[in-house]
């Protein structure tokens, strides 16, 4: 099978959210001596990008996004060893490590899940801690995995103060500058971002990815 057909199969598997097909197509491509970096950039990332676009256009919904995330993960497990072997020491590692969580007392997860899925699809290594996560645990996890970005979500107005608490604790521990702290949720806006001293927010998942890109690259 020509290289472009392998790549096309990978793209389609990601778009269709077929984890087994994505892994198999990736393996076939590697067996045919396709460069792992080509698999990553011209296969997996292109597929992920298309999934994001379809979601934004309202053609895809949350399940398709989650399935695409699974397909990407399955394919990455196959391609990662070859990628590391061939490009060790070069700039092929994940763009940044991200910890995402819905803050303590809030149990809403859909928005956070979408952002986590889209960041994963965009090449970030995301540790999604779930909902109702104590701020101390979020900070501990960020320290443990060497994260650069902390994404906090809260739908409830009365849970939003915990976002400020996290930033204050980072300051008190002298580690505020280590992290980009992004906040999101239905009631979160720029005024709130400035009020609590966060680094940014976004109005939807696609914008969140752009904001992370911008801040990580700065």
């Amino acid at each position: 099978m020509p290289e472009n057909q392998h790549i096309q199969a990978i793209i389609e598997a990601v778009i269709e959210g077929e984890a087994e097909d994505a892994a198999e197509a990736t393996l076939s491509a590697l067996d045919s001596n396709t460069d792992p970096l080509v698999i990553l950039n011209e296969g997996l990332m292109i597929g992920a990008d298309e999934v994001g676009k379809r979601f934004e256009r309202g053609e895809y919904f949350l399940p398709e996004l989650m399935l695409a995330g699974r397909a990407l993960k399955a394919a990455m497990e196959v391609v990662k060893p070859s990628l590391l072997k061939k490009y060790e020491g070069t700039d092929t590692k994940v763009k940044a490590r991200v910890v995402s969580a819905t803050v303590q007392t809030d149990i809403h997860d859909i928005g956070k899940n979408i952002v986590s899925s889209m960041l994963t699809a965009a090449g970030y290594e995301v540790t999604d801690m779930g909902v109702d996560v104590p701020i101390k645990s979020i900070i501990d996890k960020a320290e443990e995995i060497g994260a650069q970005v902390i994404c906090l979500s809260a739908l409830l107005t009365t849970s939003m103060p915990f976002m400020r608490d996290l930033i204050e604790i980072l300051k008190a521990r002298g580690i505020r500058e280590k992290y980009i702290v992004l906040v999101g949720g239905a009631s979160v806006n720029e005024t709130w971002v400035n009020h609590i001293g966060a680094d940014g927010t976004a109005r939807n998942a696609a914008d969140a990815v752009k904001v992370v890109h911008t801040l990580v690259s700065a």
């Binding site: 919904f61 149990i107 859909i110 107005t157 009365t158 849970s159 103060p161």
Partner: protein, 455 residues
């Protein structure tokens, strides 16, 4: 009826399943299969359908989803298995009449049928909207004083005595009790002390809810929310709310806010999940009635085409096949002081009135800011009552909604159309709309009359 202790036992002993697998492999995949199996499709030009076979298919798909999946405990990460017999028992036991409030102000919520001769009832208030303490009382009174409003609800207090309210913090107890204090005070001041309430909206965790179960605050003749988690899930915190009502006697309003575009996929799958949610909530929420509040994945509002379709589909499915008490939240995108809010409210009111639902509203400006007032609730009731009086057919209802949509669909942008806060649209002393807001209301009402609505 399934004993509640049995539900708790099953939450502790049911099969273990990672939450992500429940979401994706159980809810999303099963719903997708059922949408295909029942050949469900939606039409963005037919938001109120008169296709009885579609309604039947949606009900049957939702029933099959509930029987296939049961529920899930996020606390224990276990499936709460529920048998078909138990689902059927829940359907048989769905209350057909629930008396709320007391004395001359009492009202009987009832399970509406399609083309029901009885008019829908109206809850007035902006459910769950953050409202500052300085005008909380005036705001709730602006709804309570409206003669067409039957029952009261309210926003959420986000600060008390100048202090920020935090979920799960002891101050949540203070804020919930303060909210109930204002609600009871407001009802007395408008001369409707016995009016029933859906309140304790400031209780975001179970803490305030438990603290408000006292005759001075939330009476046994009032109702409170027992939320489900997206989708078909419960946790011990929300189960505690239901358990707390067992002996005290409060009316349980189940609140499954199905996300349209979420795990159920598009409008068809979301309607299926909404039907299943009520059948599960009969058991896990001990529901006396159900809140209908699908949330648009991007726009939140209930006035988008796809959410209006889900509201109609869910309401009709039950009104035709298993009547139960459904109270629909109206959450327009636009806020007070805008004409679009009134158009959105009118579209929601028509859809709900013909779909077998009672109405609650309005959570203006997506319920995101205190940009809400009693005036839009007045229009909500007027339009729904006109729809009822005219014995409007499903087809005519659809035609009216299609005429209203172009008047407000431009608000579905990232910036929305938030309008103005309550204290900038009402005279807080006289509790009447300011002239400009009253004028907008009258102009929109004239337009509605010109369209043929007998408001």
């Amino acid at each position: 009826m399934l004993n509640y202790l049995e539900i708790l036992d099953r939450a502790n002993t049911g099969p273990y399943l990672a939450e992500e697998n429940w979401d994706l492999e159980k809810v999303a995949m099963t719903t997708k299969k059922l949408v295909k199996k029942y050949k469900l499709e939606w039409n963005k030009e037919e938001l109120v359908t008169d296709d009885a076979s579609l309604s039947e298919a949606i009900y049957n798909a939702g029933y099959e989803l509930a029987v296939t999946l049961g529920s899930y405990s996020r606390t224990t990460e276990r499936v709460i298995e529920i048998s078909q017999d138990e689902i059927d028992g829940g359907i048989r036991n769905m209350p057909q009449n629930v008396v709320m409030g007391e004395g001359k102000d009492a009202r009987t919520l009832y399970a509406r049928h399609l083309n029901d001769e009885r008019a829908p009832l109206f809850f007035g208030g902006s459910p769950g909207t953050p409202v500052p303490e300085r005008f909380f009382l005036a705001n709730v009174m602006s709804y309570m004083q409206e003669p067409l409003i039957d029952l009261a609800t309210c926003g959420t207090l986000v600060e008390v005595d100048g202090r920020e309210v935090r979920t799960g913090n002891p101050i949540e107890i203070v804020s919930t009790r303060r909210e109930l204090h204002y609600m009871r005070q407001g009802l007395k001041r408008v001369g409707r002390a016995g009016m029933g309430m859906l309140a304790a909206q400031s209780s975001v965790s179970e803490l305030g809810d438990l603290a408000a179960a006292h005759p001075d605050y939330l009476r046994p003749c009032d109702s409170h929310l027992v939320p489900m988690l997206n989708e078909l899930k419960m946790d011990h915190r929300n189960i505690s709310r239901a358990v707390n009502s067992l002996e005290y006697g409060m009316v349980n309003a189940s609140l499954p806010c199905v996300i349209v575009g979420g795990l159920g996929g598009g409008p068809t799958g979301s309607a299926v999940v909404n039907v299943a949610s009520y059948l599960i909530a009969n058991i896990t929420c001990l529901a006396d009635y159900h809140i209908l509040h699908p949330i648009h994945m991007r726009h939140i509002a209930t006035s988008t085409r796809d959410v209006l379709w889900v509201i109609n589909a869910t309401g009709q499915a039950f009104a035709r096949h298993a009547p139960t008490i459904i109270v629909a939240d109206i959450y327009p995108k636009s806020g007070a002081g805008t004409k679009e809010l009134l158009y959105e409210t009118a579209a929601n009111a028509i859809v709900n009135a013909v779909s077998g639902n009672h109405l609650e509203g309005c959570g203006s400006a997506d319920g995101n800011a205190p940009n809400c007032s009693g005036l839009e609730a007045r229009l909500m009731a007027e339009v729904a009552l006109a729809t009822h009086r005219m014995k409007m057919s499903l087809k005519d209802a659809n035609d009216y909604v299609l005429k209203l949509l172009p008047k407000y669909e431009h608000v579905f942008t990232q910036d929305g159309n938030p309008g103005k806060p309550f204290d900038e649209v009402y005279d807080l002393q006289k509790l009447q709309p300011l002239d400009f807001w009253q004028k907008m209301y009258e102009e929109v009402k004239t337009e509605l009359k010109e369209m043929g609505l007998k408001v």
